[in-house]
Amino acid sequence: MAQMWITMGPQHPMTHGLWTLRVKVDGETVVDTDAELGYIHRGVEKIAEARDFTQITPYCDRLCYVSAMTWANSYIYAAEDLLEVEVPERAEYIRLISAECQRLASHLMWLGAYGPDIGSLTLMTWCMRDREMFLDLLQELGGSRMHYNYPRVGGVKRDIPVGFADRLVAKVKLFEKRIEEYEMMLDESTIWLVRLQGVGYANAEDMVNAGVSGPNIRAAGVNYDVRWAHPYSVYDQVDWEPAVEKPTSVKGADCYDRYRVRMEEMRQSCKMILDAIERIPGGKNTNYSSGDEMILAKAPTRAPEGATGFSHYECTRGASQFYIQGGGDGRGKNPYRLSIRSPMFITIPYVAKTMIGYKVADIPAIMGSFDPCIGETDR
């Protein structure tokens, strides 16, 4: 029977974003794939050349909108490297807490989209319900549910509100029980297992060669987590460990392994948050006013030509890097060049090749297990 190309996307319920995946099928088996990206390219890097360093932060929130806080943090570390600012420790703790809350929210969003891909429609609503808890926390802290514009060069915009710590701890503990509920629904369900196990094998060596990072390689046994390997912020002071899954097959990590890694990462994030809120310098119930030196250090606003700043950060989906060159317009108020390395941009072409050899029905399973977010891919 002849082979045919099927176009999945740009408008398709499965694609987790706006892109096209063309697959060549022979009956039900995938023989070749071709990915087309760029539908939501907004030119963030170019826009940044005309904005101050403070004004760029809201744009970075919108890179990966599901995981906004981590991307804003990632950019801010690069700006702080460029402007040579020392960040107070309380601000680092607050950044850690907000980033881990965001990681939880992002992983829940992933799961809520992945469930319906496999067919478990109930999961979508459950994940949204639990994500609300963390969105409310981030709303109290940052001022809105999705695009917070919270970190500032030299610290954070405002301190944690009084009483935030109690609510944070209570919600995180509630969520830890909820993870068990999810595992009851999924890990202890035959149909979920037969859909995910044995599907989408991805070899550790191939992935490292291709540049994939994040939970995807940790599922294959590679112990590389930027927070663990090159600790930034206060990740070396809180009690946690990276979630690395040793795959059961020599062929590499299958979808089930990647799913397990993210569930364990959620547990680790809960652990981190509970530890960080106890250790935060200045106390968890004090509230310093905005601009206080405990949470925001004075920072220069101009960077001379020739200065560069670089950050290497563990975003939810992999390792993101920002590279800023100073000396742009306004005598250095704007960057000359802002370059963003998006983990998903590297991963998606690799994933497209992973799907070869499996069935059409496995395409959403494999795609979803790599957790694509096209916002950061297209920038």
Binding site: Q139, V162, G163, D187, E188, S189, T190, L193, V244, N285
Partner: protein
């Protein structure tokens, strides 16, 4: 990290766990049954969480109750909140607009923390343009409008410090019926612009205690007593905000050093059918009346004292001027 201990595709996992957990979730949404099964797997909305509330947040919620208080908005149906039935277990859905999130979680929308609709107190704005410059999206526009300044409208202890009427400049007369209406007008609930309480006119001639004015609305001229007129200035700062472009990042609020620019806690009420509806002009950027009044009073006191100091200095200088020739005269003689 090993696989989940029960993660084996066998007969048990086919029938037992997914059915059990969906049954528990469903039963938990019904009252009384929910209480039996609900304790094990806690719920979030529609349940009571004493650990979430503490004295500080209760105090803050109480102090911000007026700022957050959209209960008195008559455009929404009467608010039925779950406060009435705090211990019944229900599905996690918050039935907006009957149940509103700020009732269920009063610690949300903390004033100053939430990036809601923009609110500007124009009386205290000094037109420094910091907000316009910091906005990443160019959505703020500064203009001028014809208005009666606070100082010109003051009575009582701060009265008489305003500008004088001048030919070629503007004056205004209060509209009595509008002033009466404004006493009970609540811009938060009315969902329409505040009615204009002044009738503006251009001063053509001043003679004695009367002034000849040409009214702006009709173009006709008439003679009015000067005591009835207030000075109006057409260079008072005003502005427009394009909410269609605004990304609610809050940078404008931070940059305003004179605390005239706020982001209120309102998250709804900003919709329209056309893009032009989203251009909010000055009347739609009002903050809550109490906050507004407080700021205006403070500004009035500040400007009045500044004006008094200025006039005292001028009077002293004039006295010094008249004293000098007298002295010179005295000195000469």
């Amino acid at each position: 990290m090993p696989m989940h201990p029960h993660a084996q595709p066998n007969f048990r996992n086919l029938f037992w766990y997914p059915f059990k957990i969906t049954l528990i979730t469903a039963l938990r949404t019904f009252p009384f049954i929910g209480k039996r099964f609900g304790k094990r797997l806690g719920a979030y909305h529609n349940t009571s969480h004493p650990e979430f509330l503490d004295d500080a947040s209760r105090a803050r919620a109480a102090s911000s109750a007026e700022m957050n208080d959209i209960t008195r908005q008559e455009f929404a149906p009467d608010r039925v909140t779950s406060d009435l039935k705090p211990t019944l277990w229900k599905p996690q859905t918050v039935q907006y607009p009957y149940e509103r999130l700020e009732d269920m979680e009063p610690w949300l929308f903390v004033p100053g923390n939430y990036n809601g609709r923009i609110g500007v107190i124009w009386e205290t704005c000094t037109a420094c343009k910091m907000c316009v410059n910091i906005c990443p999206n160019d959505c703020l526009h500064m203009t001028t409008e014809l208005r009666v300044d606070v100082l010109d409208n003051a009575e009582g202890e701060h009265g008489g410090l305003g500008m004088e009427l001048e030919v070629g400049k503007f004056a205004a007369v209060p509209k009595e019926e509008v002033v009466k209406e404004l006493a009970t007008f609540n811009h938060v609930t009315a969902h329409q612009d505040v009615p204009q309480e002044w009738r503006f006119a251009e001063v053509l001639d001043l003679s004695g205690t009367s002034a000849t004015v040409r009214w702006n609305d009709s173009g006709k001229e008439s003679v009015v007593e000067q005591s009835e007129l207030r000075t109006a200035d057409d260079q008072i700062v005003s502005g427009r905000i394009d909410l269609g472009r605004c990304m609610f990042c809050g940078l404008c609020m931070e940059s305003c050093g004179f605390t005239s620019f706020f982001m209120t806690n309102e998250y709804d009420g900003m919709s329209g059918f056309t893009r032009q509806d989203l251009w909010f002009d000055a009347s739609r950027t009002r903050v809550l009346p109490s906050v507004h009044q407080e700021a205006v009073d403070a500004e009035l006191a500040k400007r009045a004292s500044k004006e008094r100091t200025k006039r005292a200095k001028k009077a002293a200088k004039a006295a010094a001027e008249t004293a000098k020739p007298a002295e010179a005269q005295k000195g000469d003689a």
